[in-house]
């Protein structure tokens, strides 16, 4: 942890939070509220807040039900790191769960290993659609890191498409 932090260029970072929370489904809404509170000072549009909340919800849900196999142990941990470089939000969601064998296949729309849990296979597709950038790293047996970026506060210059 310390090493990673020390390598960062803190002249560019305007705010940063690290969250660690239990992999229980109550915390899906907690994570959404936290990220939305974090970007509030940037004066985001409602659309931007929804986009970020949706993407975070997908990644945290995946960590809970896929990474930690939906077992609901309080000792299973999810880490969420949020960082602002001016108006650029970066969110990282990390679990130490089962990991992903074939990342490319996992990211295909409609692909899911949990059809019996009514997963739609659209989680990664939504993260891609709602954020500017998505990066997934994983190691079977080690866990998964999802990194997403989005420019916030485009405000009145961009008119939302219907």
């Amino acid at each position: 942890m310390i090493e990673i932090i020390d390598k960062k260029d803190y002249r560019k970072i305007t705010n940063e939070i690290h969250l660690e929370f239990a992999a229980v489904s109550d915390n899906e809404s907690f994570a959404r509220m936290a990220v939305s509170a974090f970007i509030t000072p940037l004066n985001p549009t409602l659309e931007e807040v929804s986009d970020v909340k949706t993407a975070v919800s997908e990644a945290v849900t995946n960590a809970i039900i896929h990474g930690y196999e939906n077992r609901g142990h309080v000792t299973d941990r999810i880490y969420m790191n949020c960082e602002l470089k001016r108006d650029m939000l970066e969110v990282e969601i990390i679990d130490r769960g089962v990991g992903i064998e074939d990342i490319r296949r996992a990211m295909e729309p409609l692909f899911t290993t949990r059809p019996e849990m009514e997963r739609s296979g659209m989680g990664f597709a939504f993260m891609e659609a709602f954020m500017d950038d998505l990066e997934v790293r994983s190691e079977p047996g080690q866990g998964t890191v999802v990194r997403m970026c989005k420019k916030i506060g485009m405000g009145p210059w961009i008119v939302g498409e219907e």
Partner: protein
């Protein structure tokens, strides 16, 4: 007690919660299925009037109910959808199985 679930003719009307995520979806699907199995329900109407947040778990609820009723000729509707909900339904490509209404 179940005021979120109402039966009108052979339609099951489900008032969806403010926030629809995986945590909430488990409960909604289980309750809906109890109605679908026990009562004479042919069609399901999801009412999004009070919904301000939905992630892909919502897609799972809709597709799951569709699978349960479509083989008997039943239909699935999504009503009071705002532009956000519609965007999510379209992104997931479910417009062929759900009738989407504003």
């Amino acid at each position: 007690m179940d005021e979120e679930f109402r039966i009108v003719d052979n339609y099951l009307m489900i008032r969806m919660p403010t926030e629809i995520d995986h945590h909430k979806s488990v409960n909604i699907s289980a309750r809906a299925d109890r109605y679908i199995l026990s009562k004479k329900v042919e069609n399901v109407v999801f009412d999004f009037e009070h919904t301000t947040f939905m992630d892909s778990s919502g897609i799972g609820i809709i597709v799951g109910r569709y699978k349960k009723i479509s083989c008997f000729g039943g239909k699935v509707y999504a009503v009071h959808t705002d532009s956000r909900i519609r965007r999510i339904l379209l992104l997931a490509g479910v417009e062929n199985i759900v009738e989407i209404m504003e």
